[in-house]
C-alpha cells in the first residue's frame, strides 16, 4: 500500500482556551499542571476510544484482515507527553506513524477499503473532538471557579 514518507501527527491542543488560561494565570493559579492534567485525561480517553475503534466490528470487512500481531494497536499513541508552544499546550493523538502497522489509512480509507467508521468519525468529524475539548475546557473552568470561591 502506497504511503506518504512522512505523516503529520494529529494533535489535541488548547487553542481557544487562551483567554481562560490567561484569567487563571492572572489570579495566581498554577496553570501548567492543571492544563497538563486536562490534556492528559483527554489524551487517555482518545487513546482508549481509538483502541476500541480497532475492534473487528468497526474495521473494514469486520476485521477479516486484522492481523494476529496487533501491530496497529501497538502503534496507537498511549500516555502522550504534553508540549508547550507559547501559551498553547498540545499532545499527539492517534497513531505513531514511525511504527509499523500505523493505521492512518483506516481513518481515511482507500478506494478499495472503506474507512473504519469509528476512527473516521473521531478524527475526520468535528463532534467527537469538540466534545473532548469541551470536557477539557470544563476541567479548567471548574478549577478556576473553585479558586474564585476560595
Amino acid at each position: 500500500m502506497a504511503k506518504a514518507k512522512e505523516r503529520k501527527t494529529l494533535r489535541l491542543d488548547t487553542s481557544g482556551m487562551e483567554e481562560l488560561i490567561r484569567k487563571m494565570d492572572k489570579i495566581g493559579m498554577d496553570v501548567k499542571p492543571l492544563v497538563e492534567k486536562a490534556l492528559t485525561e483527554a489524551g487517555a480517553k482518545i487513546s482508549n476510544d481509538t483502541l476500541a475503534a480497532l475492534s473487528d466490528q468497526f474495521l473494514p470487512a469486520q476485521g477479516k484482515y486484522h492481523g494476529s500481531r496487533r501491530e496497529t494497536e501497538e502503534s496507537v499513541i498511549m500516555y502522550p507527553q504534553v508540549t508547550w508552544e507559547g501559551s498553547v499546550a498540545w499532545i499527539p493523538v492517534g497513531f505513531d506513524f514511525s511504527k509499523p502497522g500505523a493505521g492512518g489509512y483506516l481513518i481515511s480509507g482507500t478506494p478499495k477499503m472503506q474507512p473504519d467508521k469509528e476512527l473516521n468519525r473521531m478524527y475526520k468529524g468535528k463532534r467527537y473532538m469538540k466534545g473532548i475539548q469541551d470536557d477539557m475546557y470544563k476541567v479548567l473552568e471548574d478549577a478556576y471557579a473553585d479558586e474564585l470561591l476560595k
Binding site: 500500500m1 478506494p111 478499495k112 472503506q114 468535528k126
Partner: protein
C-alpha cells in the same frame, strides 16, 4: 447533499468517475483517474422554534490518478468548483493513501451547511 456533490463533480469533470470511497473490489483495477467521496458526518446545525432548520454535512473528496500533476491540478479545480457552489472547504487538501502503487491521491475535507424549513422533532 451526497447526490448534489456527485452531480457537481460529475458534471464538471465528465471524464473522471465519482465513486464511494472503498467501493472498488480488491481485484478491480483502478480507473486511470477518478474521484472518491465519503460522508464523514451529518449533524443538526441550526434550530428554530424547537425544530431543526439546518444540517451540516461533512465529506471527504479525494482524487486519484496515475499522473501526479493531475492529482494536484484537478483537486485544486474541484476545490474552486465547490467553493463557487456554496461549499466550505477546509484547507487545500492533503495526501491520501492508495491501494495501488501506480496512483497517487490527495483529498479535501468539505462542508455544506444546508438550510430548510423547520422540522418539528
Amino acid at each position: 447533499m451526497k447526490q448534489n456533490l456527485i452531480d457537481l463533480l460529475s458534471g464538471e469533470f465528465k471524464t473522471y468517475p465519482v465513486i464511494l470511497q472503498g467501493s472498488l473490489s480488491p481485484t478491480e483495477a483502478y480507473p486511470e483517474s477518478f474521484f472518491t467521496i465519503w460522508n464523514t458526518e451529518t449533524a443538526d446545525w441550526s434550530h428554530y422554534d424547537n425544530g431543526t432548520v439546518g444540517f451540516v454535512w461533512r465529506f471527504t473528496v479525494a482524487f486519484f490518478s496515475v499522473d501526479p500533476t493531475l492529482v494536484n491540478t484537478v483537486l485544486a479545480s474541484a476545490r474552486y468548483l465547490l467553493i463557487q457552489h456554496g461549499w466550505l472547504v477546509d484547507g487545500v487538501g492533503e495526501d491520501t493513501p492508495t491501494d495501488e502503487i501506480s496512483h497517487t491521491g490527495r483529498s479535501l475535507d468539505v462542508i455544506y451547511l444546508e438550510r430548510f424549513q423547520p422540522i418539528i422533532n
